[in-house]
Symmetry: C2
Subunit: 234 residues, 2 copies
DNA sequence: ATTTCATATTTCCGATCGGATCCTGTATAA
DNA sequence: TTATACAGGATCCGATCGGAAATATGAAAT
């Protein structure tokens, strides 16, 4: 079912290629991508030994990865019962995420605008352009691609604010946001791209207050685009 | 050296008392308290097997606890080398923490004031009173007590904002803040208590804007109280 | 005395084993 | 038919073992 990252039957599979560096690290990466791509559905059980069999490793690195993922809120553990992917965000969780984004991101955009330089401007423009392309060739699939670029766009702004704490915190929030969205794949990406454009323009012309306002508007609209879906399932 | 939480020699120590629920959980708690109380100094090595011997448990729960602590930024791991307590915050880290607190806490105070009810008011008053007492009996020790109450005071406000994300994020920030402070034990607690008083008054009379402002002032002053120390050590 | 190389120790990390707990399903009785 | 109890299976969790990597130790040579 899932991909094999290590030979499951080879005798000296791992002794061959350059002595692996971090085994549990790879397991973590695989699990993370499986969760954010929804190959593992929310609330789906994640059995340690079956995963160990599938990936061809022992239970130890699996546990390590699951503990990390639990600390990040992507899986939940019930003692002596098992692990499972975190449940879909409730409407309440959702409000909390947007409330917090509203506190962090406009300020980050404001600061980033004041710190603006050519490198950052170029990276922002590039991320924005790729989303525009994605928008124009518009097949119905590839919300996941859009999500990746959107996350990158917001991450660049957070980084440009110069505060690594904001980068980390926002990274977590965006992961959950997109996890939520891709379940309902509300493909209203056009408006998002347009709002990004407004924001980017403000930042590029050094209008910090305008960037702050544009980011706040963007987050509010983003929230309103999803609200209709928040009560639907579950 | 450290305290023993499980009998290290008893034959059926754990089968006796009500079948332990979560062993790694306890190890986590012990390690956490050792780190925030600085019994384990920043950058001090934390060996898995020596800890296992000291606590009388195997390496497995130790590893689990360390992985969790690493995810929370309280310990750092070097592959195939070992774990160690996180280094003391740099002046830069410190600025980042305060920058983020300035984004979150005034807003939290504002919202909490609008949501104010008797239970919360009582808890706030109680936490505040205990800090006043601590201030008046003023022995030079017990910054750690002050830190605990201060964290509680701010945590109550965060909880009252109704946003659990803010609660969690702020909890982490406060841990690091106090970790930093207790190293330099700058015992300027009197001003803090006075500022808390101003903030509490605003909240209790339902002045949301005033509470927001008071919190912002409090954080700014708190930061300024520590800034002189940020360049000193290391 | 300093440098270099080889050895030994420390430590992590993955593998595996056994026990304890919880969940599920079936059978029996009311 | 429904509810309860018991048995079986699945799973986590802690313990222990062995190997690999990195660091520390010490000896030898220049």
């Amino acid at each position: 079912m899932t991909r094999f990252i290590y030979s499951d039957s080879g005798d000296t599979a791992q002794s061959r290629l350059k002595t692996r560096n971090a085994m549990g690290e790879d397991v973590y990466e695989v699990l993370l991508s499986q969760i954010i791509s929804l190959k593992i559905a929310p609330q789906e059980r994640i059995s340690v030994d079956s995963l160990a069999r599938e990936l061809g490793v022992s239970q130890t690195p699996i546990r390590a990865a699951l503990i990390r993922l639990e600390a990040e809120g992507l899986v939940v553990k019930k003692h002596n019962v098992g692990y499972s992917a975190a449940p879909t965000l409730s409407a309440r969780d959702f409000e909390e995420i947007y409330e917090m984004r509203m506190l962090l991101e406009p300020a980050a955009a404001e600061i980033a605008t004041r710190n603006m330089n050519d490198t950052v401007a170029q990276r922002l423009q590039q991320a924005h352009d790729r989303m525009c392309e994605l928008e124009s060739e518009q097949t119905k699939r590839s919300y996941s691609k859009f999500a990746r670029f959107d996350a990158e766009f917001h991450a660049i702004i957070a980084e440009a604010s110069g505060n690594s704490l904001i980068v980390d915190t926002l990274g977590r929030l965006l992961t959950h946001t997109h996890l939520f969205r891709s379940r309902r794949h509300s493909a209203v990406t056009r408006e998002a791209v347009s709002e990004h454009s407004t924001l980017l323009n403000a930042m590029l012309r050094g209008d910090a207050a305008g960037a702050k306002w544009a980011m706040a508007e963007h987050i509010n609209h983003s929230r309103e685009r999803i609200v209709p879906f928040t009560e639907a399932g579950l």
